[in-house]
């Protein structure tokens, strides 16, 4: 009885109220902080007690996604090919996607490693107790999905804004493409032997979004190795090349007669521009703008 009275005393009541409030508050706040949970491209669910603070990214497009979502300060290391934004160039390099340096990654003590699902190093990293999130954007849809996953991972408030910016940028670039270029058939070359980017590739998708037709259908796979005769016979009106040179192109047997070569509608992108065009990441709108500018110049 005395116990009950003590428990119901005014001071005790206040203490109870404070305790209950604390529990309710914790219940409301903690799940958001405690259970960051993402599903990666291997179908694996990775849980984080709190959003990662030390991230190593071993794929340029993932580095760019982290940076675009405001997480560039959380990057502590990248692969050697990651070069955007400028600040990541100064970060420790942990090898490349094909030859990542396990020890260099471990030495950085990351709480999260972002890597392509094909990387064999993932298993070793996980055996060593590191959290690995394997993601590989290949298409426009992938870019959106990966942006959401990385956004969740970072607890970033700007995911929706970034996605909206990408859409707006794409639409703006598409609107800038001159009407006489729309529907023209383009050939996009990623290597001189010749390998093409089909309409099923990331670059091909961007081009399609700008209203251009591709002489290489998606059914041939993203980057088919073509019989050069196919290109000459298809006679594209526009040629876009990542690397190589227009002079080399017209020196190929029979290529001089292709409409695009005859009319000089050939644009060669340099390596940095090429990176923007082919990396399936947050600079998608920038890639579209680059293409739109090129098309505005090449318009017949």
């Amino acid at each position: 009885m005395r116990v009950a009275r003590a428990l119901l005393a005014p001071t005790a009541c206040r203490a109870w109220a404070a305790a209950i409030a604390a529990v309710l508050l914790a219940a409301a706040v903690l799940p958001a902080r405690a259970a960051t949970e993402v599903r990666d491209d291997r179908g694996k669910v990775i849980r984080f007690a709190s959003p990662p603070r030390r991230i190593v990214s071993v794929l340029p497009s993932l580095t760019e996604t982290v940076a675009a979502l405001g997480g560039v300060d959380r990057l502590v290391g990248t692969d050697r090919y990651s070069d955007w934004p400028e600040t990541v160039r100064a970060l420790p390099k942990v090898g490349g996607g094909i030859d990542p340096n396990l020890e260099a990654i471990v030495a950085l003590k990351p709480d999260c490693v972002l890597i392509a699902p094909s990387a064999r190093v993932s298993r070793r990293l996980e055996q060593l107790g590191l959290r690995v999130v394997a993601l590989e954007p290949k298409t426009h849809a992938d870019v959106r999905r990966v942006t959401r996953v990385v956004g969740t991972l970072l607890g970033s408030p700007s995911t929706q804004r970034l996605l909206a910016d990408m859409d707006r940028g794409l639409a703006a670039a598409a609107a800038r493409v001159p009407a006489r270029v729309r529907g023209l058939r383009a050939y996009v070359e990623v290597d001189q032997t010749p390998y093409a980017a089909s309409s099923g590739s990331f670059l091909g998708e961007t081009l399609a979004r700008l209203g251009l037709a591709n002489i290489v259908p998606a059914s041939m796979g993203p980057f088919p190795h073509l019989n050069p005769e196919f290109v000459v016979a298809a006679n594209p009106a526009i040629i876009l090349m990542a690397g190589g040179s227009a002079a080399e192109l017209s020196a190929r047997p029979g290529w001089k007669r292709i409409d695009a070569v005859r009319a000089g509608r050939v644009r060669v992108f340099d390596r940095q521009e090429g990176d923007v065009l082919v990396r399936p990441g947050p600079r998608l709108a920038e890639a579209a703008a680059l293409l739109a500018d090129a098309l505005a110049v090449l318009a017949p």
Partner: protein, 330 residues
């Protein structure tokens, strides 16, 4: 037998050559049919068909020379490090071009173009010379082969390193490694033809000496032959022929190894006719592979080097089994 083999090879060459003119990116069509673009026929299909035959001919010839010179039926024109030297040369030019940017490349495009061909050629010759230096000359065949393997491995590693350091060149380098006959034009055809004619001329003159060599080097020397000079001349043909093919069509595997075997399987010949027949056989083999590479996935291309590896490897396996069965019976 002597007349039948060249006749058969000539017939195959003509047949496959005509098929080559009928097989385009969209499938089979008679060249005179309406809808076949004359430019495609003259500027693409013809030089490509002729170029594939000539490149195969050079590989067959150099393969037969290598096997005679080293008295080893497994010798290959890519022995002595020539293939890896050529790859390294190509990788170096690509790496320089890749880092210079498109504008610089456009300005110096003739240089880059000449560069790829020239670099492959110089790389092949350089690697052969390096092998010769490491082997301390031509005197010991085994030492020469070992030095060739070592040079091949080391230069191959350097090529891989360049590929990793400049990732942009990786696809181009890979395309080079699997060979391609798709972009052979009339210039390439003229070059390949000139080298093949020269190589055949030298081989016809020096063929009998390879017969003498097959009796052993001392016997050859005791016959009063200038062994060192003759060997150097044949090595020059070997390096020149391999370098030219690699520069024009990339690394095409197994043709040089398989062509002389295919000839020996149907006829026992002295070196003079063997060299000529191996050359014809090589031409037929690579032309057939080129047709398959155009046809199997059209309008996509299966890299011709991958086809020659599979077909040549399969053939040699069959040959090996037959040999061992023959040995068992005897």
């Amino acid at each position: 037998m002597n007349a039948r083999l060249p006749a058969l090879l000539a017939l195959l060459t003509v047949t496959l050559g005509l098929l080559g003119l009928c097989l385009g990116a969209t499938g089979w069509s008679w060249p005179w049919q309406a809808g076949t673009d004359p430019v495609i026929l003259w500027e693409l299909r013809m030089p490509r068909t002729a170029g594939a035959w000539l490149a195969g001919g050079l590989l067959g010839l150099t393969g037969a020379i290598a096997q005679g010179l080293f008295r080893n039926p497994l010798a290959d024109p890519y022995l002595l490090g020539s293939a890896s030297g050529a790859s390294l040369g190509v990788a170096a030019v690509l790496a320089v071009g890749g880092t210079a940017g498109a504008e610089a490349m456009a300005a110096g495009s003739w240089l880059i173009r000449l560069g790829l061909t020239g670099a492959a050629f110089l790389g092949a010759i350089g690697a052969v010379l390096l092998t010769l230096v490491l082997a301390q000359g031509l005197a010991h065949t085994l030492r020469l082969l070992l030095a060739g393997v070592i040079v091949g491995v080391v230069l191959g590693a350097m090529t891989s390193l360049l590929g990793l350091a400049v990732p942009a060149i990786a696809p181009a380098l890979q395309a080079f490694m699997v060979g391609s006959t798709g972009l052979l034009g009339w210039t390439s055809v003229a070059l390949l033809a000139a080298v093949l004619v020269t190589g055949l001329a030298v081989s016809i003159v020096l063929g009998p000496w390879l017969d003498a060599l097959s009796l052993g080097e001392e016997t050859a020397a005791s016959l009063g032959l200038p062994v060192g000079m003759l060997r150097a001349a044949l090595l020059a043909v070997l390096a020149l022929g391999t370098g030219t093919v690699v520069a024009q069509a990339g690394l095409v595997a197994f043709v040089g190894l398989a062509a002389p075997h295919a000839v020996r399987a149907v006829a026992r010949l002295t070196h003079r006719p063997l060299l000529v027949a191996s050359s014809l056989m090589g031409g037929v083999l690579l032309l057939a592979a080129d047709l398959l590479s155009r046809w199997l996935l059209a309008p996509q291309e299966l890299p011709v080097g991958i086809l020659t590896s599979c077909l040549g490897g399969g053939y040699l396996l069959w040959w090996m089994r037959r040999q061992s069965r023959g040995a068992g019976a005897a």
